[in-house]
Symmetry: C2
Amino acid sequence: MNKQPLINFIQSNIQNIKVSDEAVLTISEMFEEREYAKNDFLLKAGKGSGYFFLAEGFMRAFTFDSEGNEVTTYFYTKNRVVFEAASFFMHQPSTESIQAVTPCKGYYTTFEKVNTLFHTVPEFREFGRLMLVREFVAYKQQTLAMINKSAEERYADLMDTNKEIFQYAQLKHIASFLGMTDTSLSRIRKEINKK
Amino acid sequence: MNKQPLINFIQSNIQNIKVSDEAVLTISEMFEEREYAKNDFLLKAGKGSGYFFLAEGFMRAFTFDSEGNEVTTYFYTKNRVVFEAASFFMHQPSTESIQAVTPCKGYYTTFEKVNTLFHTVPEFREFGRLMLVREFVAYKQQTLAMINKSAEERYADLMDTNKEIFQYAQLKHIASFLGMTDTSLSRIRKEINKK
DNA sequence: TTGATTTCTTGTCATTTGGCAAGTGGATTT
DNA sequence: AAATCCACTTGCCAAATGACAAGAAATCAA
């Protein structure tokens, strides 16, 4: 089984420490290669999240608001670690589901194994913290970008910063991610194309 | 100097491990007691964040949107750790400022000292991860509550879940936190009082 | 290819929210 | 106590966005 992409990813994210061959082996053994077909679920609401390095593909997280409308809360691109922090670390049932938007490949592991690695492999501890911090920071920035902007600005921002989302995701999912209806998004796209 | 509240807080947040007396001492030495007067800044935009256990008082984080309007991004209540994750962990200048809304007391330390503790005190490592996860989770939940709800619902939700915010914060700060103008918030309050 | 299903667009109209400016009331200063 | 400042409220109108429904386009299956 080829786990080189996973190893490369971990190594490239902790430049200051060389990951020893022994650590590489220990880490590799804890992950299993996994594939998800389009629309398959990495995580279903109500379950606990695993820990998945997305090597190929595109995923989205979603939940439901108080009126039962599906709301896309996040998009994941390749070379990212995908997990739902609340359920993964706090052992609570997830309120979010995570679904493959395109066919996906990557490496999967569980909380128990991540925890073992945290306690036995210092390099992985650093890596794990970096991933958590990075997700948090990305999430905050995304949230901040949404605040006090019009629907049209939010759309324009997303086009500037994450154009790839539009290659893969459905417009209705992008619409709910941007906090608007698909109707509004459609109209905004029409307006922008005019210009 | 009395650091007992800090120790109690750390101990109470890692129930599975008893923090050794030695660890307690090491941790204590890394924190210094600090007070902030009303409107003082814990963090100014452009600087790097410290790490502050808020034992008494109430704080808020804010930044500016693309049009230069001040936007409150977060409120902190006592018995919480206050830090700005992006600047603290990634060593970037903060885009947010954090300010005391009421007089505040607590215990302050720096990234270097937190990092030293992470590497030397396993209990503190666990504690630090828990704080980070908790902030992330709280932030996500807050964000989700904002999505796909009307201004009035967002107000009602905040009243239900964080009534104390209304005791301390100015309405214009609450308004920007809720993603609306102070005018709208005022109107909404009027409507709700009618009922 | 054809029919069925889903996604996206568009029109009409109602509702929500914002912008602006004036006004009220309380707190602070001198 | 008077003057000043600041937070908050309110009225009026405009602009942005949503709800609903119908239609066009794309996708998928047989």
